[in-house]
Every structure is written in structure tokens, then in C-alpha cells.
Subunit: 350 residues, 4 copies
């Protein structure tokens, strides 16, 4: 497919990005070209935009940004036999080696040689994009593209929430940013009760309420541990899901979870964290799961079906929808300021 | 508490039961007396009413029938220190020994010395009833008594559905009788999708639809295995939950479940069952769980919270509500004919 | 590599096999040629030899038999970059598609499009053999070839024994044929105690004892259920592992396992089996696992390390060792008569 | 039973203890009196002896020390019907309430109202001792008393090692003090391979070798992470078991465990610990278990059977055996100096 397309390019090793016109790329062997129907912004994109320390060490401009996507296959590269023009797909963003110890034991999400789509190669903030065929995920026809694009981050939320039993379990979620909001939606759709959310931002607390949180705490004004105990007959919650990356939230959550309970850690901390392992983990006999990526492909099946069930309350999470990329800087700045849930671009205006 | 009360009595070793007036019983050591607010009919009660082979071997008339219950404590027997007059309780119906191998390893639901409430002693189809304090479960104040009474059979449904992961799993439920309907409600509230139900009775298929089944099959007119495969991209379901007790349903479900899938068996079969273990279980690497009773008390916590979440669609399951016991024979006959979901009595008319 | 080699060929659609001289094969794309150092006989090979109903429907003579193997890579086909001449390998015998629902969710052992090495293509009862590179498993240098060849059936035994907790669990194993003996070795090395074995053949009971069974029962002369109860303080065993394929053994084992216990079924039954599901599975709340193949590659890692630990008592299992294939008919006939544990051929006499 | 007995008494709120003659106690309701056959020293006893900060806040002298024990019932208190004179028992040291959320959900090991035998009441470093009947564990007749006494700490080791799959798993154990040595024995008996031990003390490294460690590292002279990677083909270990309570060991272990691996934390740290949660837990997708106490009574069954299997190498762990209590100060001082494995007293010299 010949022609030009608009793309959000990390053009230089500095803050920001540029909207540029570039050639539509050609799919190589094992690749397909998709027309991007919807693409959502991830926290990682924000780090690249802001050009933080991690981005400086990993990203090599110029590069097209973005990795959460839904699109239609418009061209198929050599050697691809299970994808066809017209297929409606999303993409797993971890490109795994298939050879390492982790891959050979089914732990693709921690492949020792992972390359990340939109980080180690051109991404999807564009009208068209290349997707490695092995990373394509076929969507059912009726799924809205913005939901289909959300499947990738929903995978993280699903792995966080479903790392153990959740139906009928009392649950604390710390952090109601974009991923935390998805976590609330997944927890509610999976039968967690009560779902208690701790979040300092008023804007996000309101979103948490819309998504369906049963109790909402402002940790800057209320005593999180006391509130959780009051709600749970003094026992603390069965399950603690950390989405905030705030060391204080980690400590409060570990105090608020009931002895013998389960913990999932997804949020990344800004620095090393100091905690009282004896009293907060060991004597409480907690089970703590570090969460990264998504299980291939079990998690994708789970995510797709949860969306299809109609029980996943995603509407309030999708706070900002942009037709075209023209106002991309507004989108990034709003997200930086914590004034959004998930933000979606529909690159083709029609 | 002195006085008389009405009770449904299995009076004679024959078909049926009688509505009689008897003395309100006195709670002995370790017991409480409750005012029965709601009591629901179980299939076991039906067997006792019908005086089937099992009932003849186990029940010793005269005896008050019934075991699913919610009520208010009105008198406390000696030695009971954690229940008080005014407490709003339901009752676990298995009285366990606490000493056997199963009890000592946390498997109270298969205690080797279980006595069953309403089977091995007087039950709760009465205006007042005795409950052993160790079997009492405290309910939150706002829970409707008919839901509180349903918690016991919901426990079976929860153990059936939640014997493994269910959120985002494709699921086949065979049998939409009273327990199967509760199973549908639990599966939906826990994120299963799609929930496919196979049930020959038109009456029950309609109830299944109201409770929220995503696909409904009439196994007498449709090819269950083919339908399930069509719905699941040819793969079969991840989870098969057998509530019907029909040997044919077992076979169809084992054929319809995907290799590596999970199976729960709750329905009791009318006789020994012949199946092709090689092709239906071994080569498919299935995981099969026999389900009986409820885990003490984990399952009760799960059930109570699922009800409190408001996501458990119980209204369509409760098809028949009776004030007082006057029309109890109508209730039993309707249930025998398969013309009911769950049936509830409110013994005190006001 | 040019030249001729000796091979056991299923030459005709009839009982038996033939030792023939054929060309050493050339590895195609994605394949390697190995010099066979040791190869062991599987029950499947016996079925092909006997030309039973299953074999008649599946096998297309002429074809080289055999699939359990250890060998040295002597030639590497095009496109193979992670195997080299001199590598010491064994082979997984299931060639999986990598595309089906099972493969995409990590359940390769029940791949819907499995082809079996030595069944659907030429096998390893030969001096040299072709192995698909994706099925190769690298062995540590010091592992004896006869042990390295045993890894494939050990994988079945490991998946049977380790389908749930086993250390410190009382265990019943029914059937002490070649696979059952491997099961005993794995159970003992993994901390099971007591390991009780039920086996009618005196020859096999003696092998079971040598491998390390703690108690051995002759089910034709003793009451298996009573003996198991006597050994286990009346409780029955925690774990029941069925290796025999005898319907009677299945029934006895289900009676002998404690309520809430775990069951693995590996043995294939000669026909459909009739059992009392209510009393033997449902009321006992058993967890039953059908076992087939081996988890790729988790099980291989487990097997290899168990062998390397030196705690797996394999010596008594390897009852017959043949240099060259000359006496292959004796080997098959002894195995048919139940007069062997595992039988190994060392094709190259030196 | 009337008479006097010798006992090691924490007599004063200061360093040390005293050997005193006191009255043999009378068992009250629900209690039995045992003749102590063997009693072993725990790290907790050492803390009480040393009178550290924790001991000062918890212990109320005068009190008889000790809790690990095996003995024979010589007198039975009122209301005890399942223990009899002559029974050979050990004792679980956590006295649980049976009423709290943890107890009601089978998590007795983290009962919110636990009292500890020998900490909150008189203990077993005496010729006779009181044991609450509900805490008694019956031993098989032939088990040596010193092994029977070791079951309590073995329970901790078993819960640490068996918090997930272990057979055929590569394993790192940090710390080969008394509990770490028991951990090595359990890991080996359960099929772990290789078992790598990191321990700075030469005395303890030698004990680790005798117990059966496959590789032993001195973390003060060798690079633990590099050594572990070299042993495990560069992958790191599947399982990391922390027994040392050294922050540095925690960090090294988290670096040495393979992504997706399992971690158990038993050792108590001298202070809060600072770690890089992002890179050491979250990005590695680790599963971390805090371990405290023992599961009642599942763990006791496991421990008892592992001992009975004869595969648990306890002889090298029991480095010091004392007849009578006369040299108790030597015993405590040796243990303080790290010059012992487990130390056992046989109070009655004959």
C-alpha cells in the first residue's frame, strides 16, 4: 500500500513529540500492515513523551510512538498464512523469543529477551502501522475499536486482579489512575465485594465511583487502615491490589490486608522502598505477586470475553476521545496532569 | 419461650407431610431458638416428602422437615456466648465433628461424621426452630430473609462454579433446576462468559434466560456438542458445570469441554454411570471436581459478599413465595413437577 | 551422512515387525539426524507390534517403530540454529501445532493437531534417526543414555504424581507395569509416604518392592480397600494414582482414597467403565485429573533434575538391556508377557 | 501426680535462666500432663534467654521456658476424652481461638488471638509439662522422641519449602542455621534439585553439606548471584527460600531467582528492609510467600509422614544431645555462638 500517513513521532531526544507525515510502511516477512482504527495512550508513552530517565536509556529517536491498538489488516507480508486482509486485530506488545527458559515453561510475560512494540521499534500512533503476525490477536467483529485497543492494558489489570481467587473477596485497590480504574472494572465484573479504593485525586475518586467502587477513601484526609477495618468487620481485606506506585500506599495496603491474604503489585515505585517485612509480610503470611505484562495468550482470552460479557464498565474509564491526532499535545498534557482516565485517538476521522 | 407453633411434619413413613401444631422447642446447651423469617425448599426436602429409597433409609418420622433458613435469635441456650437475642442468622446444615481427619485438615464439608440438620434432627419448616450455635452464620441487617435463606444452596453453587478460575471463562451449565439457576447467577456475577445452558424443560429455559444465561440449548432438540463448539470457535468450553444428574448431560458436557478444561459435578445421578474414561477424561487431560456441601466457612463469606454486591441475580430464581405454610402441599407438588425455581415460605404472615 | 543402518520396521499390516537394513535418512529443514545411543520400548510400540485395533486405524506401514530415545546429533538440517553436531539430546514425542487454542494457552500436551513421533512418521528403533529440532531436549553430558531415553515416559509419570501436592502424602498406586514403576520411583523421590502399591503380578510386585514401595498388595488375594484403610488409620490415602487401566483398580482406588483426596488417571481402560459417580466422586469431593502426554517443557525440566538428583531409583525399572536389535523379538515377547520393566536397546554395540 | 521436678526457669527479667526444682503441675480442664521425653531449643527460647527487646515486651517471669517437645501422657485433666495415659504426643505451640476470621477460614496459623505455648504460659523445659489437649499431636510408637520434638520447627520448614511445587525445582536456600538445615532436609526429601545453600559460617556450611546440599556458597567470599546463575545455565533458581533474616541475603536471593519464580520468607529481619521492588519483585513477576507458624493440622501430617518415610536426613541437624538439664547454660551459649544445629534435652537420664 503506497502513500503517506500522519504519525506522532518521538523525533528528538527531548521533551515532547511531533506530528509528522511519513510514508506508509511496508510489511516485511511475518508482518502485517493495519489501518489503525483506535489507539490508546499508555503511561509508558507518557514517559517517552516526557523523556524521563528510563526513556533516555531505552528509546532511540526518531521513532513512532504508541503500542495499544486496534486495527484492520490491509496488507499481509510474506510468510504470513493465518492473517488476511480485512481481519480485525489488536496486538500484544511484548515480542517474545520463544527460546528462553521462561518461554519454554509458559512464562512468556517474563521472556528474557522481550522486545517491546512501540519502545524498541516503531509503534502505532499513526494512521497505519506494522504488527508482527505472531503478536496479532483477532477481535470479534462487533467489539468497538476503543475497547479492542484497551485490551492490552486490561491484560495487566486482569493479571493483577485474577492472580488468585477474587469472587466474593473483599478488595482494596490503591490508585485509581488509568490502570487502577481498569482494575476496579475487572474486580467488579469478577465478583469482588466490597471493592474499596484509596486515591488522593478528587478527579480520579469520581471516576472510581462511576466505574463502580463500593467505598472510596482519600488517603490524604482519612486513615486508610482504619477505614478498611471498619468496612470489613475489623478483619482487613482479603485482597490488596497496588496500582499507584506510591510507597505509602504499599505500606497502608499491607497493613490493611488480612493475615493470610493476597497482594498484587503492579504500580512501579519511584525509588527503592523500605518496609517492615517481619510484621507486614512474614507474620501476616501474605502471598505477594509481582505483576508485569500479560500471560500469553490466556489473559487475552479472559480480557476479550470479559468485554464481550458486557459486564466490564469501561465507558467511564475512557474519558477523552480524539478524532485525528491534531490535538495530541493537549491529550498528553491532560494525562500528565492526572486529568484523564484512558485517552483514545481515532486516527481516521470518518 | 413458651407457646405453640405451626410446623411441616414428616409424620409417617409414607408419601407427603402434615401441617401440625406443636410446642415451641427449648434450646439446649450450645443451641439457640430462632424465629423463622424465611425458609426455602431443597431437593432433599422433596425426597423426604416423596419418601424415596434414600429417605426411607435415613429419616425417622415424626420429624420437622426443612433446613434452609433465615431467622432471628429469640432465645439462647446455656453455654452460648457469641450469639444474642436479636441476632439475624442463617444456618450451615452440616454439623461436623471437628475431630476426624477431614475436619483436622480443613475439609469440614466431607467430615466423616457429619449430621445433617433437618435430616438427622428436627428442621426449620416451622415458625420457630432450634439451631446449634456452632452452625449459626450472622447476616448483615439489610439482607432480605429470602436471600439469607438461599445462602445454604448458594454455597453449593459457589463451590461448583468457583472450584477453579471462572472470570472470562466460557462455561457450559447442564441443568437449570433450582441449583442450576443459582449456578448461572453465580457464574455471571463472577465474570464467566459465555454462559451456555443446556436444559430440556421450556419452563426452566425461560428462567435461565431471565437469570442471564448467554446461550440456551434444548438438548432434546439440538446437538449440544455442536452448538457449544459453534459458540466457542470450535474449541469447546473451558468449564463444564453439571447440575442435572442426567447421565446423558454428563456425557455431552465431557464431550463439549475443551481439552485441558475443568469440570464440576454437583448433580446426583439416578444410578451408576458408564462413560468412556479414555476419550472423555484421560486423553482430554480434564480436571474433574466432585462437589458436595460447602467449605466451612470460606464459602459462606463468599456467598454473603456476592449477595451484598447486588450483582447476583436471584429475583428470577425465587419463583414462588408463600406467606404461612397453609399451601405447602401445592408448593411441594409444583416443585415435584419442575414448575418452580426456588420456593420460599415466610412462616409469620406479617 | 551417507550409509546404511539397521532398523526395526513395521513392514506389513500384521502382527510383528522386521529387522531391516535401510538408508540412513537425511535431515530436512528444521530437523537433525541423531546417532541413537539408547532407545526404550513403550506400550504404544507393543500395540503397533501386536497390530491391535488402534494400531490398525492409525499406523501406515512400512514405518520405523519407536519414539523414546537418547542420541547424539550427527547432522543438522537447514534452518536449525540452536542445535549442533555433538549435542546430546532426547526427544519430546508430541509434535504440536503452536496455533490451536490449547497451544496458545500453554496446554501443548493436548494440542488439537498433535502428531506423534514414531506413530505418524518414522521413529527411533534404528541406528540413526531424524528428530524435529523443535522437539529436541538437550541432556547434561553425564546422564546415562538409558536414563535420558526414559525421560519421555518419566514425563507421564511425573505429570501423574505431581498433578497436586505429594510430599508427605499417603499414596496408592494401582498397577506396577513399566509406567507404574516409574510412578513409584517419582512418588518416593518426591516425598510421598506411605507409597502403597496394588499389583496382581508377582513379578511386578517384586519390582515394586525393589523400586521402594512401602506396602504392596495383591488385589487378587487381599482386600485392597481394607488394607489401605488399615495402613492409613482408617482414613484412606490422600492421593490415588491409577496406572493399570483395570476398571476394578479404578473402583478400588476411588473407594480407598480419603474424602477430599486427589486422583490421577493415566492407565487406559480396555472399554467404557461403569462407576457409582455419586458415592465414589461427588460425595467424596474428589479432585480427578486425566493425564496424557507431558507438559512442554516444564515436565522435562522436572524429569531431568529428578534424574540428576540421584534420588530417582531407576535401576530396578530397567530390567532388560540389549546391545543391538538382533534379539528384538525376544524383547517384545517378554514385554507382552508382562515379564519386564522397561526394556532398552543400545543400537550400536560398542 | 504428686512430686517435684527440675525445670529451666526464666526466673528474672534479665539475661539467662535458672535450673530449679518445682512442683509437678496438675492438668486443669482440657489439659494433660506429660512426662517430657525430649525437648529441643528454638531460636525463640534463645531470645528469651538473652532477654532481647521482644522478650522484654512479651514474657512475664518467672516462667518455665521451652515449647518443642515430645512426651508421654501421664495424667489427663477433666473433660479430655480423646487422650489417654500412655499416649505418645508432641504439641503444636500455637493455641488458637477458633472464632476469628482466620480460624473460620482455615488459616489457624495466623489466628488473630494466638497464644504461644512456652511464651504466654509455662513451657516444656522440665521433666513434666502441661499440654492443652487441643494442641496435642499423637505420634506413632516407633518415632524417636528427638525427632518427634523436632516436628514443630519442621512444620515451619515444611511450610517454607512446600508453599508451592518443589520436586525437580532448582532451589536456593539462604541461611543454614537450625531452621535452614531442616529446610535443606525437607527440600531434598521432596525432590528439589539442585539445592544450593548460601551460608557465611564454615561450621554451618559443613552441616549443610552433611544434610545433603548439592552446592554450597560462602556469600562473604563468593558472588552468590553469579554462582547460582552458573549452576543453573544462566537462568537462576526456580525457588528461593530465605531462612537467614539477613537483608543482604534477601536481596541476593531475589536477584538469583528466575523471573516467574517462587520465594518463601521465613527468616526474621533485624530491622526494616529496603529493596528495589520494581526490578526484584514486580518486573520479575515473582510469587512471594510470608511464612509463619504451621498449617493446622495439614502440616503436621506432612511432617510426620516425611519423618516416617526415612528420607528426611535429620541426624546431622541434631548436633547436640544432653541427658538432663545440668549443662543447659553450655547448650544455650553454644547455640548463641552459632556452634550448633538443633540441640535436644532428654530430661530423664534413663
Amino acid at each position: 500500500m503506497d502513500g503517506k500517513m500522519m504519525a506522532i513521532m518521538k523525533a528528538k531526544p527531548a521533551y515532547g513529540a511531533e506530528l509528522v507525515e511519513v510514508d506508509i510502511p511496508k510489511p516485511g516477512p511475518g508482518e502485517v500492515l493495519i489501518k489503525v482504527l483506535a489507539t490508546t495512550i499508555c503511561g509508558t508513552d507518557l514517559h517517552i513523551y516526557e523523556w524521563n530517565e528510563w526513556a533516555q536509556s531505552r528509546i532511540k529517536p526518531p521513532q513512532i510512538m504508541g503500542h495499544e491498538v486496534a486495527g484492520e489488516v490491509v496488507e499481509v507480508g510474506p510468510g504470513v498464512d493465518d492473517l488476511h486482509v480485512g481481519d480485525y486485530i489488536s496486538a500484544e506488545t511484548h515480542i517474545v523469543c520463544g527460546k528462553c527458559y521462561q518461554c519454554r515453561t509458559g512464562n512468556y510475560h517474563v521472556c528474557q529477551n522481550t522486545k517491546i512494540f512501540g519502545v524498541d521499534m516503531d509503534g502505532v500512533f499513526a494512521e497505519y502501522a506494522i504488527v508482527p503476525a505472531q503478536n496479532a490477536w483477532k477481535n470479534p467483529k462487533g467489539m468497538p475499536p476503543e475497547y479492542a485497543s484497551l485490551q492490552e492494558p486490561l491484560g495487566n489489570a486482569v493479571d493483577t486482579v485474577l492472580a488468585g481467587p477474587i469472587a466474593g473477596k473483599s478488595t482494596l485497590i490503591t490508585g485509581a489512575g488509568p490502570l487502577g480504574l481498569l482494575g476496579i472494572a475487572v474486580a467488579k465484573a469478577s465478583g469482588a465485594y466490597p471493592v474499596i479504593v484509596s486515591e488522593p485525586s478528587e478527579f480520579r475518586r469520581k471516576l472510581a465511583e462511576k466505574v463502580g467502587a463500593d467505598y472510596i477513601i482519600n488517603p490524604f484526609e482519612e486513615d486508610v487502615v482504619k477505614e478498611v477495618r471498619d468496612i470489613t468487620d475489623g478483619n482487613g481485606v482479603d485482597v490488596f491490589l497496588e496500582f499507584s506506585g506510591a510507597p505509602k500506599a504499599l505500606e497502608q495496603g499491607l497493613q490493611a490486608v488480612t493475615p493470610g491474604g493476597r497482594v498484587s503489585l503492579l504500580g512501579l515505585f519511584p525509588r527503592d522502598v523500605t518496609i517492615d517485612f517481619n510484621n507486614l509480610i512474614i507474620f501476616k503470611a501474605l502471598e505477594v505477586h509481582g505483576i508485569t505484562g500479560r500471560h500469553l495468550w490466556n489473559t487475552w482470552y479472559t480480557v476479550s470475553r470479559l468485554i464481550q460479557s458486557g459486564r466490564l464498565n469501561l465507558e467511564p474509564v475512557l474519558t477523552h476521545r480524539y478524532k485525528g491526532f491534531d490535538r495530541f499535545e493537549e491529550a498528553f498534557e491532560l494525562m500528565r496532569a492526572g486529568k484523564t482516565g484512558k485517552v483514545v485517538f481515532f486516527p481516521h476521522r470518518s
